[in-house]
Amino acid sequence: MKILDIIISNSSNQPIYDQIYSQVKSMIISGKLKEGDPLPSIRNLAKDLRISVITTKRAYDELERDGFIYTVAGKGCFVAEKNVELIREENLKKIEEYMQKIAELAALCNISNDELVEMFRILIREDE
């Protein structure tokens, strides 16, 4: 089994199940975890990280619900086939979040929409 880097922060405001969920998800999206790779059992992961079994189960349940992993009865959990559509959706969501932030910042310092669009055009052109 691959060694997973999962770091739980007790001081963070992010719930623990969400910390596991997002870290495993990002390992799947980045390709660090590949289709068919086995995940540690819920109980072992919980005991190794010294966190609650119920919380760990909740993280796995959500990963399964969102199609990132699947369960084989008696064998454990595995990484599901990479769903391109799902990942695109995920990234779109992220882009929207960043845009939201940009819009808020722009409103704070009175930058008009046209100016914003212009800034972005210049930025993309420079990258090319």
């Binding site: 001081s11 199940y17 109980r43 119920i54 919380t55």
Partner: protein, 282 residues
């Protein structure tokens, strides 16, 4: 299945009443029983072990009423009380001999394994053991007869942080097997916060809550703000508060707080201290 199911449990003493307690401990989980001295933790544990008679209510241990076949059931329960009692002149070797004849499923190898892990001497008399060594011996015994339910009553109090952490580690390992469950009482809240799946909070004989630990941590937060800002918070969201001349600190339901207020993470200790004060006021 539940390792423990307690319903409407009541026990009255002169000047104390354990009042209508109900909670369940699902198999494979660790439950922490928190409460001040005299809250009813030990009474609850004694009732579970059927060493005192209850006034009313039901107690199921590992799926069966604890007054039925309890002698046999005790094979499945490991118990560690706040003081370990062995005859003064006993050595760990003697304890092994006695336990071999007491428990049907006594595992001598496992016991020796624990003695090594805890660095307990085989030939030293019990009366010369330090408090930490005594507790570790009692825990080694409780874990060496293949018990499915481990009950610890204040087993870590009076121990230094390193010994406590060692014991918490053992409990954590014990529940790696999904058939094993633990009920541990303590007034050292931070210990319980480290290992428990569920927290039950007893206060003056009443069960204030029994909830999943991480749900408590997600649900509650500490809000610190000025008095004028505080006035805008819905009263239902406030679970307890502390005021001084400059600001207000309150335990709040995170979901009910409007955005823009900064809510800090509450520890289990914060939560029970605020809630206990509210219960006292009522």
């Amino acid at each position: 299945m539940n390792a423990l199911a307690i319903r409407n449990l009541t026990k009255t003493y002169k000047g104390f009443k354990l009042d209508n307690i109900s909670f369940e401990l699902p198999k494979g989980c660790i439950m922490g029983l928190i409460g001040e001295n005299g809250a009813g933790k030990t009474t609850t544990i004694k009732l579970i072990l059927d060493t005192i008679k209850r006034d009313s209510g039901t107690i199921e241990v590992l799926g069966e009423d604890n007054r039925k076949n309890f002698k046999e059931k005790k094979e499945d329960i490991g118990v560690v009380l706040d003081e370990a009692y062995f005859p003064e002149g006993f050595t760990a070797k003697n304890v092994n001999t006695v336990m071999k004849n007491t428990y049907k499923r006594w595992d001598q190898e496992l016991f020796c394994d624990y003695l090594n892990r805890f660095s307990l001497p085989r030939d030293k008399a019990f009366k010369d053991f330090s408090r930490g060594m005594k507790m570790k011996l009692a825990i080694a015994v409780a874990l060496s007869h293949n018990a499915k339910l481990l009950i610890l009553d204040e087993a870590t109090s009076g121990l230094d942080p390193i010994a406590r952490d060692e014991i918490l580690g053992i409990i954590n390992e014990y529940t790696r097997d999904e058939d094993n469950s633990v009920l541990i009482s303590s007034h050292i809240v931070s210990d319980l916060e480290k290992i428990c799946d569920y927290i039950a909070f007893l206060h003056k004989g009443k069960l204030v809550f029994c909830e999943e630990k991480d749900v408590l941590l997600e649900r509650y937060g500490i809000l610190k703000c000025s008095k004028s800002d505080f006035a805008a918070i819905a009263p239902d969201a406030i679970k307890g508060k502390r005021e001084n001349s400059y600001c207000v600190e309150a335990l709040v339901e995170r979901a009910e707080i409007p955005t823009g207020f900064s809510v800090e993470k509450a520890s289990i200790e914060d939560i029970i201290l605020y809630l206990a004060r509210e219960v006292t006021k009522q």
